[in-house]
């Protein structure tokens, strides 16, 4: 008799780490003393109540749980806490500086991307990562965003990625101008 849920519930292979696990999340240090195989997603949500990262599938297919680990986009539902000792995590709650939104967040508002909004934190985190890797992403590069959106916001995501590029370019130009004025 096959177990209906065996596939999803199987814990990722976790190295056994003795003692508490220390890691940095959005600039703060946390110490995890619970199950070492607990995926980061559930630590964020159930323990820290950082609920911006969403559960969508638990097996890395949908991307709703995307966070940055040492600056790279990762699906937090697949990352056991034991593998994160000493790592630096950034979640959707941590990418703005105070009230100043990240350009990608602002672009998402400007293009009115969200419908239900559930996948959008993951979409934004994946896009921030994409723009780090590709300064000028082509349409084909944008197509490589694999995060699922059930509402069908893909065309507006496409526009928002381009809007974010524009916002970042404007911010950079303003910075350079300010630096010039200073010198």
């Amino acid at each position: 008799m096959p177990q209906a849920n065996a596939k999803i519930d199987k814990a990722p292979a976790a190295a056994v780490v003795p003692g508490p696990i220390e890691l940095t999340i959005n600039g703060e240090t946390f110490r995890h003393t619970g199950a070492p195989d607990m995926p980061l997603l559930w630590y964020l949500r159930d323990v820290l109540r950082l609920t911006g990262s969403k559960y969508g599938c638990g097996v890395g297919q949908c991307g709703a749980c995307t966070v940055h680990v040492d600056g790279k986009a990762q699906r937090s539902c697949l990352l056991p806490m034991s593998a994160l000792s000493g790592q630096t995590i950034t979640t959707i709650e941590g990418i703005a500086s105070g009230d100043d939104l990240h350009a990608v967040q602002q672009a998402w508002i400007d293009e009115d991307v969200p419908q239900c909004g559930y996948c959008q934190a993951g979409q934004i985190m994946a896009t921030v990562d994409l723009l780090k890797r590709k300064a000028q992403p082509s349409d084909a590069d944008i197509s490589q965003l694999t995060n699922l959106c059930r509402c069908g916001t893909y065309p507006r995501i496409r526009k928002a990625v381009k809007r974010a590029l524009q916002l970042m370019a404007e911010a950079k130009a303003a910075e350079e101008k300010a630096a010039e004025a200073k010198s």
Binding site: N5, G52, E93, C116
Partner: protein, 748 residues
């Protein structure tokens, strides 16, 4: 409306903080000097009515709907803001809770209709929410009239101010207290003329977008409660099967697991009688412990009565059923005679599969049950249904059940069923603790209320001039009206085959019949339920008739629609179907895709149109094959949904509906084998990703002065047939089974 009723309908309340509240609540409460405690929360967790005016002249508007991505948290408050003449840029919107109460006249909802289904939020709000805004404005103007000692009609309003004839502007906030002491007018207040609109028809961005993009928006699944345990269930994979043996020794050893127990499926005649899988609940300190506990369970099942059911068997049963008589849904003229007299008869069968909703946010529920009350937090489409389920299972009166509504991660009809609410109540009662029930994705895909499976057999009779003389639509399907007494009372074909849908009334001889198929699969509404279910067949077949008779597919449709006129339409979205409006969206869509232009390079163009819930839409696609993949070069959606409240929201619904339609038509099917659903993840139920989608959906909304019809569902039914028609144009392969891509690749 009598004076008293009027006062009960629209009431005004002054809070201790000086805020003016206008809503639809009984006057009994309205003029009490004491303000109910739930109106005073600093965080405004619970608003008592639709409008609150703060001392800094910020207007807070309550959003009553279930926000499932269709934008009602923005569009419904826009209706109020318009008539209130509020400065939209400074409006803050608050989600309202479920407003059930027992008033002097019995059960009522202080906010009016709150559910999300059938694209009715805007049509409902158009009726009552504008009036709520207008009454609030009337009171503020009356307060200003008293203050300035001027006649009411000499005053104007603009952007949250009353304007004196000399141009002096007084903020609403300064008038709120006086306004709260004035009786509302006895008769409905005159509403604005469209040319006076400042909010309606102007693009408005999602009001809580900032919260969404910063991860602070609270969805139902994001709610936690002190003392609550997390529950997951191992559900019987066999439809209507049951638990045979359990070994929970290992599960109970998992740190954090608190309890393991059986939840039986519903028994006929019990308080909750809809489908609910029997299973084993694991209750734990957190989700991970619960999931680990669940995977450590050793459970065997009794397969139940549907152990033999399979998709293949169902197909055979459907083909067999079509040989019978079925139940007549509509019959015009004499189809049998038309068949005899026909020069030629065309016939084709189309198959549509079961579909799962796969909301990005899976079902979940947080509930606390106390002896004399209950609190529920979760994503819903039918808070009234949830309230009833909780009442039936707890014995509590519905006014003792508080339901906090949240932003929902998608709906698509899934949350019209409250099975997960029932489960959470059952588990919480057994656990004796507040429970947060979590569903995993495989739970969701395997235990949904699926869009019905159906086989459509269409026939067209043609005379010697290739004129269509008769049309028969036979549909064998797993009806949505099954199992439960209140559903069984409805006509079996309802929800699968609509009597008055195209081409009813447009051909002299028509025969529509329904053939009900027994199945153990739970079924329910799926976005634009019957329309996504049958438009594929009808609009594909029209295309086939056009090719067979060497007519232009657009011209044929226009000829059938004929002169612009209104036909009776009994189904939801009636009472009339306007042939001219459908012809107009089709014509505009054909222009946009350059229908007449010949394509080369293996490209083909397809088109389709459909009337859904009072709205009209047409789709056209230009496609070509790229190996096994379909490239969609252009995607056009033209809609006429009456007056548009929020153009930005309507564009999102039409583009989103189109993409949902593409994803579903190309990829998605739920299949059954040995009485079990076979799909369990986004791997085998592959919602379309960015790479598969056109870069742009060209949405064209025809300007209209008619009453709005809503927008959530019109943008999807014509997608699948337009795609199938485009595929035929590009490949000469006529795909008559959904999903398209698997069938196309099988045939290519």
């Amino acid at each position: 409306m009598t004076n008293l009723n009027r006062r009960q309908f629209i009431s005004v309340m002054l809070t201790a903080s000086g805020a003016l509240l206008v809503g639809l609540r009984p006057a009994v409460a309205a003029f009490q000097p004491k303000v109910p405690i739930d109106l005073l929360g600093e965080a405004l967790t619970s608003l008592g009515a639709f409008v609150r005016i703060e001392r800094n002249n910020r207007i807070v508007i309550g959003a009553r709907g279930c926000e499932i991505g269709q934008g009602v948290i923005t569009s419904l408050p826009m209706l109020i803001a318009e008539e209130l003449d509020a400065d939209w840029n400074r409006v803050r919107v608050e989600q309202l809770p479920y407003g059930y109460e027992i008033g002097p006249d019995g059960e009522t909802n202080r906010y009016g209709p709150q559910g999300a289904g059938g694209s009715t939020s805007i049509t409902d709000g158009w009726k009552d929410l504008r009036q709520a805004g207008a009454v609030a404005r009337w009171l503020l103007v009356e307060a200003a009239a008293q203050h300035w000692q001027l006649p009411h009609d000499r005053l104007a309003t603009e952007a949250s101010h009353v304007v004196h004839p000399d141009g002096t502007r007084m903020p609403y906030a300064e008038l709120a207290e006086r306004a709260a002491g004035i009786l509302p007018p006895p008769e409905p207040v005159a509403l604005k003329k469209p040319e006076q609109y400042r909010v309606i028809g102007k693009p408005a961005k999602t009001v809580d977008a900032r919260a969404i993009v910063t991860g602070r928006a609270s969805f139902g699944i994001d709610a936690y409660m002190g003392g609550a345990l997390t529950a997951v269930m191992l559900r019987c994979p066999h439809m209507d099967g049951s638990v045979d043996t359990i070994d929970d020794t290992q599960a109970r050893k998992i740190p954090g697991v608190r309890d393991v127990f059986v939840i039986d499926g519903p028994v006929p005649g019990s308080a909750f009688d809809t489908n609910l899988a029997a299973g084993v609940a694991v209750v734990a300190d957190d989700t991970w412990a619960a999931l680990k506990g669940r995977s450590a369970l050793k459970v065997t099942w009794k397969p139940g009565p549907w152990a033999q059911e399979s998709s293949a068997a169902l197909e055979a049963k459907a083909a067999e059923a079509l040989k019978g008589d079925g139940v007549s849904v509509r019959s015009d003229g004499d189809m049998a005679a038309a068949r005899k007299a026909a020069k030629r008869t065309l016939e084709a069968r189309y198959q549509v599969p079961f579909l799962a909703h796969a909301t990005m946010e899976p079902p979940h529920a947080l509930i606390k049950i106390e002896p004399d009350r209950a609190l529920f937090i979760g994503s819903l489409q039918s808070p009234g249904g949830a309230s009833t389920v909780i009442a039936n299972l707890t014995g509590l009166s519905r006014d003792k059940i508080e339901i906090r509504m949240t932003r929902a991660g998608g709906g698509f009809g899934r949350r019209l069923e409250n099975d997960y609410v029932a489960e959470a109540v059952m588990i919480a009662k057994k656990a004796g603790k507040p429970i947060k029930l979590m569903w995993t994705r495989d739970d969701d895909l395997r235990h949904d209320f699926y869009r019905p499976y159906g086989l459509h057999q269409l026939s067209a009779t043609l005379d010697r001039k290739n004129q269509l003389t008769g049309f028969a639509h036979l549909c064998a399907a797993t009806s949505m009206n099954y199992r439960i007494a209140r559903k069984k009372e409805r006509p079996p074909g309802q929800g699968c085959l609509e009597a008055d849908d195209f081409p009813a009334g447009l051909v002299p001889n028509l025969d529509k019949r329904f053939f009900s198929l027994e199945s153990g699969m739970p079924r329910g509404p799926w976005r634009a339920p019957l329309h996504t279910f049958h438009a594929f067949a009808v609009q594909s077949f029209i295309d086939e008739i056009a090719y067979e008779t060497k007519q232009d597919a657009v011209e044929l449709r226009l000829k059938l629609l004929g002169e612009a006129r209104e036909l009776d339409y009994q189904g939801h979205g009636g009472p009339k179907f306007d042939t001219g409006r459908l012809a107009a969206v089709l014509t505009r869509c054909a222009e946009a895709i350059e229908w007449k232009r010949r394509r080369s390079d293996g490209r083909g163009v397809g088109i389709a149109c459909h009337f859904t819930f009072g709205g009209y839409a047409a789709h056209a696609f230009e496609v070509s094959m790229d190996g096994r993949d379909l490239r969609i070069h252009r995607a056009i959606c033209v809609a006429d949904i009456g007056r548009v409240v929020n153009p930005l929201g309507v564009d999102a619904m039409m583009a989103g509906g189109t993409i949902d339609g593409i994803s579903t038509a190309l990829n998605l099917a739920i299949t059954v084998k040995d009485g079990q659903v076979q799909q369990s993840s986004f791997g085998d139920y592959a919602i379309g990703r960015m790479a598969q989608m056109p870069h742009e959906i060209e949405v064209i909304v025809l300007p209209s002065e008619r009453e709005p019809s809503g927008a959530g569902e019109m943008g999807i039914p014509s997608v699948a047939p337009a795609l199938a028609n485009a595929i035929y144009a590009a490949t000469t392969v006529r795909v008559r089974r959904l999903p398209l891509l698997a069938e196309l690749n099988r045939r290519l």
